[in-house]
Chain length 287, copies 2
């Protein structure tokens, strides 16, 4: 029986170390999948590791709580940090490496470059969190290029982020394949999120109702109901369920994220974001 | 004796074709240098090809008159386009490939990503040409990643551009080495530029005086003269020489491009931009 500490995945901290390890694997003919995370790993992240291992020879997770993608300093400070636990979980999942750089390694003195994406980053979380998707696009560009990985894995739970990543990877010709994995949920439907840990017991009891209300709205949308009225109803239901406020509930094209006023014409998804105390939860489902 | 047409370098038009050719070379163990240009090639560009051939096994020039880096539609329309002639010159210089994509290949429908650099892009040409360096950083990011080249070559004539490129390559961890080559000049000191072709005979006679006035300002700057007064004097001299207006004459740190009010403390350069009719000429020299 091995010690717990022996199960934790190996950690590297520098761009040079990461690049050298991946380059060595590639010289050996091995392919590499990347799983960018901000840590506080849950079963959703582990499903991305599983997917990476099914597509590639090596799975590299990254852990970086990226200050550039937080629009509120309080949210950055409160974001859970559980590196030792994360390294254990990754080891048990069979990941081969954890890249956990310090902020000065990612943004050394004099750092001055920003990657921004228009279109898919407008509205939804992009409207509520100014600069958020610039931060995501910038840090993911760096992680893809630092690692030289063949593929990278993202959850559909952060669906707008996934579309932003696909957009800039295609636009900047970054040689990496983007893989999307389905949202992992609790038994009661709540989408797994590192922020769920910050919910009180009372908030946790309310939380799954956002997803339930979204699911219940789908048949009426599909039956070609009045989109605007249905969204207003759903928002009222989310507030009535006990959420403190609703940032948005929106019906959009699956790929371009353009708002739709009618179902059935093209693949579409329903998106929502709402607050329980100082915790902002998001979700999205296909319609 | 070979036909002229046989001397022209081979041209490719698509990202896929470029990527496949470079990947093949790299599989054969060959290294690749890139020379990004907007065409209308002169001896300055050819010096970059020579430098690429001295550092790498294969030299790939690119020709793309990038609409995103032109702030004035008239300048874009008037920019010289001489592809056949360029391909001949590159063939004679020993380049191995010319990548000349159409605009729709570089910016297909739905394109939405921008790379921007703060700091070094402020002031000088960045102040006079809004969006110019975003366009440069974006298109160069794409060319570097499309080609997968080992190194890329830039002239010091566009010195601010060189610093912008160095900055985003370092910041985004793009795996390419940036090489700088000295400005190539006519016998009378005029820096070679594709825009020189647009000068009338009378303007061409005036043009070299900007460089001459800059050179003459150096001893006084080095002797710790009043920087602001010396720059004002030089600007007045450029106008008196017959230039229609002066965009800037500026004394700045070689690396950060921060304006300096004193010489001798750090490596510095003198920068100028001025107009002859509708042609804007730039130059810079070490102090």
């Amino acid at each position: 029986m091995t010690e717990k500490s022996e199960e934790a995945v190996e950690i590297c901290r520098t761009v040079a170390d990461l690049g050298a390890r991946v380059a060595k694997w590639r010289r050996e003919g091995l392919t590499v999948g990347l799983i960018p995370t901000m840590g506080a790993l849950h079963a959703g992240h582990i499903s991305l590791v599983d997917a990476a291992l099914s597509h590639y020879d090596r799975a590299v997770a990254t852990l970086f709580v990226n200050p550039r993608q937080f629009d509120r300093p309080g949210d950055l400070a409160a974001y859970p940090r559980t590196e030792d636990d994360d390294a254990q979980k990754l080891g048990l999942a069979g990941a081969h490496l954890l890249y956990a750089p310090h902020a000065t390694e990612m943004y050394p003195q004099g750092y001055a470059t920003n990657v921004s994406v228009s279109g898919v980053s407008a509205g939804l979380c992009g409207g509520d969190r100014p600069g958020h998707f610039d931060g995501v696009a910038t840090v993911c560009s760096k992680l893809f290029l630092q690692s030289g990985a063949d593929g990278a894995f993202f959850g559909e739970k952060d669906y707008q982020q996934l579309q932003v990543v696909r957009r800039f990877v295609s636009d900047l010709n970054i040689p990496i394949t983007i893989h999307a994995c389905q949202t992992i949920r609790e038994a009661d439907g709540l989408a797994l999120s590192s922020r769920n840990k910050r919910l009180t017991a009372a908030q946790r009891a309310i939380a799954p109702q956002m997803h339930q209300i979204m699911v219940e709205a789908v048949p009426a949308l599909q039956a070609n109901g009045d989109v605007s009225a249905l969204l207003n109803e759903a928002a009222a239901s989310i507030k009535a369920a006990g959420f403190d406020s609703v940032d948005y509930i929106d019906f959009r094209d699956t790929k371009t994220l353009v708002p739709l006023d009618q179902a059935g014409k093209q693949p579409a998804r329903l998106f929502a974001a709402a607050w329980l105390g100082d915790v902002r939860l998001i979700d999205n489902i296909p319609v």
